[in-house]
Every structure is written in structure tokens, then in C-alpha cells.
């Protein structure tokens, strides 16, 4: 039974005091934020700051050491989490960094998988829906190709079609533009924006591509590895112009830290 969410409560994701780590190594400490219906929230930060870990905690792949995550009001981290996770998974879609399509199936079969498993639609209707999703990502001509036969960008688009197969309410993307040429990346951004406008899908996008961030974000959450949490929240143009934090400004203005062979380490930290 799905939980009926009243219109007023439009908080889709609520993280409170989230602490995530592996063994003794803490990656995120006491992270709190919320994502509202219809927002596109980009999560950014340098390498190793915990973006992927945060994503895994939000989709229930890692159990946090402390704190809670509520998706559509249901707690997926406390007791009763398996049932909550089961219900939640029908309503979210995830685009993994390298697609994570099943290598032994064609992309049409990959997109059809969730439809066959979780609905009782007849095969012909499923085929139509698959064609519709592949059309949306521009891959109709490649429906019967295997993932290994496609380029990285096409695999991502196929994986996106799969993530959207059941019309999820929340879409999570792990570095969707990584490894794509500027044009394909821009097309992917356009696709995300269109879906967000047309279907009202809430999106959480892990990325560090500045162009994408500025194109699609309603809000940004910036993480930092040494702070082990969020150091800035806001619209990308605000953060770029008005942030008081040097780390945030350096990120948005692409300021490299000078690392020269022979330079003293003090110079490198400046």
C-alpha cells in the first residue's frame, strides 16, 4: 500500500543528522538537508568528499551509522526499513555512473525489466512503453543492441530510460555527464530539465560539471571532504558570486591549487 502524501507536505527527501562511514572511517558527519517536490538539487564537491556515499545512503544501499533518511515521509533507515525500502524502490529511479545495465540483455530488455517484474501489463503494452522511453532518449534505432556494443554516452541514455521505466517520482543521477562530450552532456541536461518540467520529477544529481550545475540546478548542496558535510547551500549563481567561503568560490571559478614539483607544501595549501 502506498502512503498517501498530502499535497502540503512536499518534502520528498529528508536527511537528518546523517553520519555515514565505512568501519572507522567517517565520510559524512551530521548531514541535514531536505529536497522538495519538483526541485533539481545538485550535490557537488571535490573528489572524495562523499558525494557517492551520500547517494548510496539516500537510496538505501548503505545503512548510515547515525541519523535518518525519510523518502516521501517513510523512514528507510530505522526499524522497518526493509518494508519501507521495498515500497520506496518502486517510486525512485537511479542512473548509475557507468549505466550499470545488465550486460547479458539488450537495452530494450533492460528497460523492460522493471516493467515485467513490477507490473502486470501485457507484453505488447510493455514493448510500447519501452519504445516510448527509448524514443525519449533518442535510442530507438539501438533497441536490440547489447550494452557492450554502445558508446558510453548511449549506455548512459539507455540506463536513464531504464531508470524512468516506471515513471518514478524521484530520480537520482550519479555523475550523468561524466565522460560525455559537451554536446551530449548538454542534451542530457536538456532531457532532465524537460522531464522535470513536464512530469514534475524531483531530481538529485551528483555532479561536478560546472556547466551542468549552472544549467539544471534549482539548488546546490556543496560537500567538502575535510568538513565531512555540507559547506554551502543555494542557487549556483548565488554561490558563485556571493559565497564567503573560499572553497566554494574556488570550486565555481575553477581555481586550481598550485601543486608544483619542488614547491613547498605550504605553498600548495595556500
Amino acid at each position: 500500500m502506498d502512503e498517501v502524501i498530502p499535497r502540503a507536505a512536499d518534502v520528498m527527501i529528508q536527511a537528518d543528522g546523517l553520519t555515514v562511514g565505512y568501519g572507522e572511517h567517517l565520510v559524512l558527519k551530521d548531514v541535514t538537508f531536505s529536497v522538495h517536490r519538483g526541485e533539481i538539487v545538485t550535490v557537488l564537491g571535490g573528489s572524495g568528499c562523499g558525494k557517492s556515499t551520500l547517494l548510496k545512503a539516500l537510496i538505501g544501499l548503505i545503512r548510515p551509522l547515525a541519523g535518518s533518511v525519510r523518502i516521501r515521509g517513510a523512514d528507510i533507515t530505522g526499524p522497518g526499513r526493509s518494508a519501507a525500502l521495498d515500497r520506496m524502490r518502486r517510486h525512485i529511479g537511479v542512473l548509475f555512473q557507468y549505466g550499470a545495465l545488465l550486460g547479458s540483455l539488450s537495452i530494450a530488455d533492460n528497460v523492460a525489466m522493471p516493467l515485467e517484474e513490477f507490473t502486470d501489463l501485457p507484453p505488447s503494452l510493455i514493448a510500447d512503453i519501452v519504445r516510448f522511453k527509448l524514443e525519449m532518449v533518442g535510442l530507438t534505432d539501438y533497441a536490440h543492441f547489447m550494452p557492450a556494443e554502445l558508446s558510453g554516452g548511449m549506455r548512459k541514455r539507455a540506463a536513464l530510460a531504464r531508470a524512468m521505466a516506471l515513471d518514478p517520482e524521484i530520480l537520482f543521477c550519479d555523475e550523468p555527464s561524466a565522460g560525455l562530450d559537451p554536446i551530449t552532456a548538454a542534451e542530457l541536461d536538456e532531457l532532465l530539465l524537460e522531464w522535470n518540467r513536464a512530469l514534475g520529477i524531483t531530481m538529485v544529481v551528483i555532479t561536478h560539471e560546472l556547466a551542468s550545475i549552472e544549467a539544471i540546478s534549482t539548488r546546490c548542496l556543496m560537500l567538502d571532504g575535510s568538513a565531512k558535510g555540507i559547506i554551502a547551500v543555494g542557487r549556483p549563481d548565488e554561490l558563485k558570486k556571493d559565497s564567503a567561503d573560499p572553497r566554494v568560490r574556488a570550486f565555481f571559478h575553477r581555481q586550481p591549487r598550485l601543486l608544483r614539483a619542488g614547491a613547498s607544501s605550504a605553498a600548495a595549501e595556500g
Binding site: L61, V94, F96, Q97, F118, S264
Partner: protein, 376 residues
């Protein structure tokens, strides 16, 4: 040319001049390094001057050589001077930091853990392993009955796929191994039995040994090498590609979707392969009997049929059923335990085979005792 000049005396210091000519690159650095080793080993050296006017090319290796010389002179408190640096090399030297003294940071060493710490860590890892094993066995047990009873969840298409790969495609190797084993056993036995004119009992030996022990055991070991490794590698690679995560996040039950079809497939094909192995082995014995022991095929087969009771064949099949399930479970478990690297896939595949064989032998021992106690 090494360009090492004679010691120059003056002002109370023994100053050595090093003026290499030609390129200071990967190809030439080794010789220069040897020269410099000798130079620095000489205790009478009090100052070093390097003249680069004869040098036309320097790459990273050459740069590092110069930096190393500079640092070692600094460490030995010997004045060091770099002169006549060609104009074309100055930007490279500036980029490489030759113009300013460096803070030499040695690479962080991995401290070797003391034996007690290692023992502690090993114990914790083993306990974690046992915990994962129990969780795994639990999840499979919970999935087992619903899986088999509901047609849609049984995944017949996948089960048949694995029956073909693990079962029918294994038949050639099973035939070869069992046939040869039957052959060898009959041959070895014949040497002894012939002395007593007891040739016909070769049939008894071969058929009993095969149906009760060797048939199920060898079939299971071959399954371990073929199928446990295949399952571990397949699931392990899926782990590396995040396909298992993707399935979990989409709401698929990994146990039902990935593991049960493989377990069911082996549970079906294992006993069938064992029957086939038994037949192949008896056939092998029969060949020896016919060719070397003056036994007609008919008499061989009749004797075998007489000595074998249903209990012999069935006990072998029950063992085979258990072995096959163990092989599948171990293969899948190791696959799920794979970490995200190619190296890990290799290790887990190997571990799948080794652990399967261990479990098979252990189970065989348990069965042997059980059958003995119940007089089967």
C-alpha cells in the same frame, strides 16, 4: 662523457667540477649517476660545482638527478653550485623546482602491523565472514520455498539456461573423466584379481565404487571447477559493474533473481550428471574387462546389475543433490563477496572453487557417517 674534472685546490676547499656533455636523459642518466656516486663517496670532496654548458637536453630523469645531487650535497653540508644553465632549459628547471630548495617529503610508509594486531584483524575478518555466510544461508532458505512453488518466481527461462551451461555442456568432460576412472580402476583391480581367477569381480568393484562414492564426488568436483567458478565470476563482474546495486535499487530480490535460478539449475543437473558419470565409468570398466580380462560385455553388465542395489544408486544421487546445491551456493556467495576490482574477481573465483571442494569433501564425510549409522 662523464665530465668529471680533476680536484681543484684553492681556499682550503677541495672543489670538484662536474661538467657533463650531451643529453641528461633516461638513456644517459645511469652512467652519470654512477659517476656522481663515486664523487660523493669521496670524503675529501668539500664543494661541488656543476657546469651544464655542454648539456643540450634534460628530461625528468635528468632533472631528478640534478635535484638528487643538490639534496645530497645539502644533507652532507657541502656547498653546491649550478652554473651555465642553457637558456632553453631554464623554464623546465623552474617548473621542476630546481631553482628553489625543496622540502623533501618521503613517501608515507605502510607500517607493518605486529603479529598480535594481525591475529586480531584476521579473527575479526573471519567472524565477519561467518556472519555473511549465515546471512546468506538464511536469505537463500527464506527464498527457497516461495521460489519453487510459484511458477513466475521460479524463473524457468534462467534455470534452463544454467541447466544447459552447467549440465549439458559439462557432459563431455564428465564422460571423459568417469570413463577413464572406470578404466583405471578396472585395470588396477584386474592386476590383483586375475591372480585368483576372480576377474568377474572387477564389475562389482567398479560399479559399487562409482555409484556410491566416485560418481557423485568426481561430478561435484568438476561442477566446482566449472560452475562455481563461472557463477562467482559472473556475479563478481556484476558487482564490479554495479549491476547488483542497480538490481537492488530497482527493487529486485537479488537472492531470487540471481541466486535461486543457479541453485535450482545445479540441483537438477547434478544428479543427472552423476547418473551419466556412473554409466560412463561402468562403460570404462567394461572396456577393460572385454579387452584384458576375457569378460564379455554382457557378463560384466549382468554382474554389475546383480551387485548394485537401489540404495547404492540412490545414496549416490542424494549425495550428488547435496553437493550440487553446496557448489552453487558457494559460487554465488563468493561472487557477492567480490569487491570492486578485477583482482578481487580473480581471487573470489579461485576461492569459490577451493571452498566448494572443501565443502564437498566435508559433506561426503558427513554422509558417510550418516549412511553407516542408518545402514544404507
Amino acid at each position: 662523457m662523464t665530465g668529471l674534472g680533476p680536484p681543484r685546490e684553492g681556499g682550503g676547499t677541495e672543489r670538484r667540477l662536474w661538467a657533463p656533455t650531451g643529453p641528461l636523459t633516461l638513456k644517459t642518466v645511469t652512467d652519470h649517476w654512477k659517476t656522481l656516486q663515486n664523487l660523493l663517496a669521496d670524503p675529501s670532496v668539500r664543494a661541488v660545482r656543476v657546469d651544464l654548458s655542454g648539456v643540450d637536453a634534460v628530461d625528468s630523469a635528468g632533472l631528478v638527478l640534478l635535484k638528487s645531487l643538490r639534496d645530497r650535497c645539502a644533507a652532507a653540508a657541502i656547498p653546491y653550485e649550478l652554473t651555465h644553465v642553457p637558456e632553453s632549459l631554464r623554464p623546465f628547471f623552474a617548473f621542476g623546482g630546481l631553482d628553489r630548495p625543496g622540502v623533501k617529503k618521503s613517501l608515507p610508509q605502510k607500517t607493518a602491523a605486529n603479529p598480535l594486531e594481525r591475529l586480531g584483524r584476521l579473527t575479526l575478518e573471519t567472524l565477519q565472514d561467518v556472519r555473511e555466510l549465515i546471512q546468506f544461508v538464511g536469505s537463500v532458505t527464506v527464498a527457497f520455498f516461495p521460489c519453487c512453488l510459484q511458477p513466475k518466481r521460479f524463473r524457468l527461462k534462467e534455470v534452463l539456461y544454467y541447466v544447459q551451461r552447467s549440465g549439458s555442456e559439462a557432459m563431455p568432460i564428465i564422460f571423459l573423466v568417469s570413463f577413464l576412472m572406470g578404466l583405471i580402476m578396472a585395470f588396477q583391480a584386474a592386476v590383483q584379481l586375475r591372480q585368483f581367477g576372480a576377474n568377474i569381480f572387477v564389475a562389482d568393484l567398479v560399479s559399487l565404487a562409482l555409484t556410491r562414492e566416485l560418481g557423485p564426488l568426481m561430478t561435484a568436483i568438476i561442477l566446482a571447477g566449472r560452475s562455481a567458478a563461472a557463477f562467482a565470476a559472473e556475479i563478481g563482474t556484476m558487482r564490479v559493474n554495479e549491476e547488483v546495486d542497480a538490481l537492488t535499487v530497482m527493487g529486485f530480490n537479488v537472492t531470487e533473481f540471481l541466486i535461486m535460478p543457479k541453485v535450482n539449475a545445479l540441483a537438477l543437473s547434478g544428479p543427472l550428471l552423476t547418473l551419466f558419470a556412473n554409466a560412463s565409468g561402468i562403460f570404462g570398466g567394461m572396456v577393460v574387462g572385454a579387452l584384458g580380462l576375457d569378460l564379455t560385455p554382457a557378463s560384466f553388465l549382468l554382474e554389475a546389475a546383480e551387485i548394485l542395489s537401489p540404495a547404492d544408486v540412490l545414496s549416490g544421487l542424494v549425495k550428488s543433490f547435496a553437493f550440487s546445491i553446496l557448489v552453487a551456493l558457494v559460487g554465488c556467495l563468493r561472487g557477492l563477496q567480490t569487491e570492486k576490482s578485477a583482482d578481487s574477481v580473480g581471487r573470489m573465483t579461485t576461492s569459490a572453487v577451493v571452498t566448494s571442494i572443501f565443502c564437498i569433501i566435508l559433506a561426503d564425510a558427513v554422509f558417510t557417517v550418516l549412511f553407516h549409522v542408518f545402514d544404507i
